[in-house]
């Protein structure tokens, strides 16, 4: 099938920062992304789990497929939000179907 080169960006970010991140992405013209729930994890700030939590605690994963040439804009927008915060950002090469959607 016909596929096209793209980048898959995965941002694991604190839940209270979600709206700021998505607003920043939309502001940078990145209108396509998907948010996945996260159950728990571990990092330099220790281990955590979402079990039984009442507040807007924990992390989220935001996945974003994007044309390679738009990657830098995305990363800059995301970085401005996560800069002072815990969490991780990774970028993978990928191929997408239906490139007209991106």
């Amino acid at each position: 099938m016909q596929t096209h080169k793209a980048k898959r960006v995965e941002i694991i970010i604190e839940a209270p920062m979600e709206r700021r991140l998505t607003d920043a992405l939309l502001g940078a013209g990145v209108t396509g992304f998907t948010t996945l729930p996260v159950m728990g994890g571990s990092g330099r700030s220790g281990q955590w789990t979402r079990e039984g939590q009442v507040g807007r605690a924990g992390m989220l994963a935001v996945v974003c497929l994007i044309r390679p040439e738009r990657l830098d804009g995305l990363l800059e927008a995301a970085f401005a939000v996560v800069e002072r915060h815990i969490g991780v950002v990774s970028v993978t090469d990928c191929d997408v179907l239906r490139a007209e959607r991106f």
């Binding site: 209270p16 920062m17 700030s45 079990e51 039984g52 939590q53 009442v54 507040g55 605690a57």
Partner: protein, 326 residues
Amino acid sequence: MGDILALAGSNLLSPIILSFALGLAAALARSDLSVPEAAAKAMSIYLLFAIGFKGGAAVADHGVDANLILSLFAGVLLSFALPLVAFALLRGLTQLGPIDAAAIAAHYGSISIVTFVAASSVLTAQGMEFEGYMVAVAASMEAPAIVSALWLATRGPAGRKVESGLWQEILLNGSIVLLVGAFLIGLITGPRGLEDLAPFIISPWKGVLCLFLLDMGLVAGRGLRNARGILTPALLGFGILMPLVGASLGLATGLALGLIPGGVAMMMVLAASASYIAVPAAMRVALPEANPAISLTLSLGITFPFNLVLGIPLYIAIARTMTGAP
């Protein structure tokens, strides 16, 4: 004194406290017992709705007390002031830097609605009433502490400006909106509305509170387990001292406002309790450099159980004595 101990004893052996103890013990023993996040959130929505509604219906019943506005105002002031005290204590007692101290101070200036709910259940069991609008006072005390704390953290030369969207986010925090909204619904629909909803918001209430405290125990226990090494003796001391300091300020406020004995006790409970829902999220946004494990473990692992087990009966006994209640 004997009275306080008797009350503390009977309080200690209530299903509510025992459920919390069960959760705590289970988590410390590494049991895999756990309450799903969605169930915990649903119970907290239920409790906020029920307590807010009941408060509103009570105000509708008794008429709006002239003291309502004054009490709200006093609550806001108290919430602004408490972080300053907490910050000073923390900087004096512990090695924490200003950011961490400010973050913790925000938690202690704000309030814990579950502590309020548990106290209302103890008061009811003793046939003591409190002003229905104390629920509104509780809501009014959630946010101001955050303002003080941010001022404490950012006043230095390196001080950053607090981002504008944050204020709206804090004031429209889900738990504030639900508490105030349910209060208004109770106020509008009054005793008739309360009667309508009683089989939902009154009868099963204590049972839901038990399961919710089971979950709180689990979360607190997990926190304590992961926080080994974080809690120094000085911090532990703060976690017990600060609620007593807060309760004293609450007592003075309650007496100055001329509240009824139950109301004075509730003002003490509010001042003594520390937030573990709204403030943590706000601190993650505003002071990301602060270590969230410290404040949460202190507030949920030390101060919450202290208030639940010893604080509430103590505050009630003091409120009784100071107001000259029988």
